[in-house]
Amino acid sequence: MSTDTPTLTGTAKISVRDTRKTFALKDEEFVALDGVSLDVADNEFVTVVGPSGCGKSTLMNIVAGLETPTSGQVLVDGAGVTGPGPERGVIFQQYALFPWLTVRKNVEFGLKVAGLPAAERRERSEHYVRLVGLEQFADALPKTLSGGMKQRCAIARAYAVNPSILLMDEPFGALDALTRVRLQEQLLDTWSTEKRTVLFITHDVDEAVFLAGRVVVMAARPGRIHEVIDVNLPYPRTEEVRLSPEFAELRNRVWRAVYHQTQTQTKN
């Protein structure tokens, strides 16, 4: 319902093609994305890192169908994106929980929109609330939750409609280190059991490498893809992996790609 014009393409789940996005400022136009092309395969976990303002959120909003590209095309399952749809779950950086609904009702929101009967809604929400460990807070309002709990509720809400694609914009950005690591492991757990395609934006290089099969490094002004780094580390990603020298090396590579972009650029 939110996609049309099927085209013959490869097997990419998400295909961003030569996408450009400009915003009209007072007397000039600002190029937020310039010639961005990226294919994400089915069941792939891709993370996106880059300096602030390089267009990561813009890219995600375009894939989500919340913004339209100025030129270029975004295909999901081979069909052009024309708006948001429940097959693409989005987790916003600002949680975006409905503050007047309890945790359970938040999780059930998408199910209600989809017209599921109450009993089934209840069952599904129960499952996902338990999955993120919020069962004791199912009837609590968001204002009584901590930041990490709100984030988990937002994750449960996105999971509940069972999207085949998850788009996550710095979802763990505001969390303490311990909660962050726990949620990373939880995310990988559910990703491997309920296979999904994930596009995950982060500021944190460690997180980018730990989660991804591929790290996309973006550059700013204009926003573009700077480098794509394959992460050839085995899943499940255990603490061993996190502490391995291979991990450290990849991490350093990504770090250099993110924070020494100007040098690499002048060399080219």
Binding site: A96, F98, L141, T144
Partner: protein, 270 residues
Amino acid sequence: MTTSTVSTPTPARNGSPPRRRAGKHATLLTLNAVSIVGGIGVWWVLALTGLQLPTPPEVLAKGIELAASGTLAEDLLASLGRVLAGFLLGSAAAIPVGFLMGWYVPARGLFEPWIQFFRTIPPLALLPLVLVLMGIGELPKVFVIFLAAFLACVISTYQGVVSVDRTLINAARVLGAKDGTIFLRVVVPASSPFILVGMRVGLGSAWATLVAAELLAAQAGLGFRMQQAQTYYDLATIFVSIVAIGVLGLVMDRLLLLAETRLTGWQERR
């Protein structure tokens, strides 16, 4: 904390522990009582030292007399009936208009100039015109009160709708919601705090307008009673009316405040 909350956790970071908060509350109440008694005392002293004021017992006696004769009840009902009719009609009209203005740009374009214009005019200033056009029955009074309540509430509702967080609307969209659902399940609840604040302001404005309108043109009501008493230098009756107006206004405001905390308790308070 040993209260057995069923499932909602006690908001832990919300300030001081209950005992200390209760203590603070008691102190405040005591100070309130001291202030009221002191104020009445000052009034009494002023009345006895030659100012042309009735003493508190005189006012109390007058109040009892007016209550016993049924005049007070009659006035209260007349005033209350007008203010409620005007206020309810005003709010009922303001909420849909405010939503339309916030949601549809054409509606905003059509309504806004008129609302902005009439907002700058105190509703009471329209009373002479309204009296000429609508005669001297109940209609003109209810109409100006309606206007007062409507103008306060419509602006607030409109502001509530346009300030609904974009990310909440986007969150609903990515969960599959279409415009109608977004309106009912996101825009309406998200703007309800604004609507209730608008209603409270509207009620205050309606009450003020009512009493003034009764001073100018009425056959019953608290304002009318004061106007009458003024011609006979009957200060005690004026005092009774003032106290009744104040108490009634306060009670209505508290009732709306109660509704507000009930309906919008989900808000994060910072």
